[in-house]
Amino acid sequence: MVYVLLAVVAICVVVFAVLATSRRTPSSNDSVADFQRHLNALSPEARRHTVENYPDMKSMETLPIEETEELDDGT
């Protein structure tokens, strides 16, 4: 009975160690996949949705580019 329990604990420790190690050391493909994901997110196709939200601006009041600071009357 004790041997069975020890075996189960040993298996659990090994599985845990394997999982922990695999998480800490990313495979060499991870950075490549990340970079590809990054580039895909910047593609014109991916950006179309965001730019389509632009027409919301049209209904807004047109603003002057800039204005005065602190009630400057030029004096």
């Binding site: 009041e61 603003l63 580019i65 030029g74």
Partner: protein, 334 residues
């Protein structure tokens, strides 16, 4: 559930993009305060309309100057009110991406993120304005070609070379449209002996200001107060005079573009000749500026289709694809 936000916290205007909804707010970066109590009376358009029409105890201020926070408390209150207006509350704390000048210092960076977090953001990430502008201007920055963006704002002018989703070369100067207005104001005071406000100076810039000679130029009548007599006086200004008045500021902007071109890798330099440089930001709307840059650099200059909104749209795209574009944020690269 909080909707994540992108904020273009500009010296002149503040724009807010909400995830899934687009641009939801576009207002001047102005806040009106009661001088005696420190109480906020108005922000944005409302505060802007108060300028010059308030009793002495009310002051309208721009909490950002040169793209940097000059008054932390006022900026925090302004961000807090902006977030409230787009629906952020104590229970809905969104992730926020804020566009900042690339030349921002560590202290300024900390000030912006702290202001956003204290104003109700769960997480505040910063992105350089030229990078955001390139994303928003729909440039092919995912390709291995040189994309050059010139972003001329109210307080800063930045030029960046972008390729394969990252910044390759960058040049920034703390000079922008406000400095052009100030140059006009100083010129009129010095040469014509009359005092004009920044608002009038801006009107002159929009009416007859130019960085290079343009067809159909006309003179403009300007009224101000005679510095000697103290009485109202009207003078006529010519476009040549204004070009002369703003030449120093325009030259600084053009020289920063030249320096950025010099920093760019040779492999990308040839791309600029065929693809050109893209001009964004309100300052880029100055007549003749694109032609002046083109003449001095011998590289074609193209105006973005949405120069005023490109930066916030780019940051908005980062909000829409937060995990994929996390590498874009300034913190991620340090």
């Amino acid at each position: 559930m909080a909707r994540d936000l992108a904020i273009d916290l500009g010296t002149a205007n503040t724009l807010v993009y909400m995830k899934g909804r687009g641009i939801v707010l576009n207002e001047p970066s102005v806040i009106a305060l009661n001088r005696q109590t420190g109480e906020v009376l108005a922000t944005g358009h409302e505060a802007w309309h108060m300028i010059g029409r308030t009793p002495g105890y009310i002051v309208a201020v721009r909490p950002l100057r040169g793209g940097a926070i000059t008054d932390f408390d006022v900026t925090e209150r302004m961000i807090r009110l902006l977030l409230q207006r787009v629906g952020v509350s104590r229970f809905t704390r969104p992730k926020v991406v804020i566009c900042v000048p690339s030349a921002i210092t560590e202290v300024e960076r900390r000030a912006v993120t702290d202001a956003a977090r204290r104003a109700g953001a769960a997480d505040a990430q910063l992105i350089e304005q030229p990078m955001a502008a390139a994303i928003g201007a729909q440039l092919p920055i995912d390709e291995p070609v040189g994309n050059m963006v010139i972003d001329i704002g109210g307080g800063t002018s930045e030029t960046a070379v972008i390729s394969l989703g990252g910044i390759v070369a960058l040049e920034a100067v703390r000079v922008g449209s406000f400095d052009i207005d100030n140059a006009i104001q100083n010129y009129v005071r010095r040469e014509h002996g009359i005092a004009i406000g920044e608002r009038t100076a801006e009107e002159i810039k929009v009416a007859i200001g130019s960085a290079a000679q343009t067809p159909d130029e006309v003179d403009a009548e300007v009224s101000g107060r005679d510095l000697m007599m103290g009485l109202p006086k009207t003078v006529v200004l010519t476009p040549e005079e204004i070009r002369y008045a703003i030449d120093d500021v325009v030259s600084q902007i053009v020289q920063s573009v030249v320096r950025c071109l010099a920093k760019a890798p040779a492999e990308l330099a040839q791309d600029f000749l065929t693809r050109g440089m893209y001009l964004v930001g309100g300052g880029g709307l100055l007549r003749g500026l694109a032609e002046r840059i083109e003449t001095e650099t011998q590289v074609p200059v193209r105006m973005s289709q949405m120069p005023l909104e490109a930066v916030v749209l780019g940051a908005g795209h980062c909000v829409e694809n937060f995990s994929a574009l996390r590498g874009m944020f300034m913190d991620a690269r340090r």
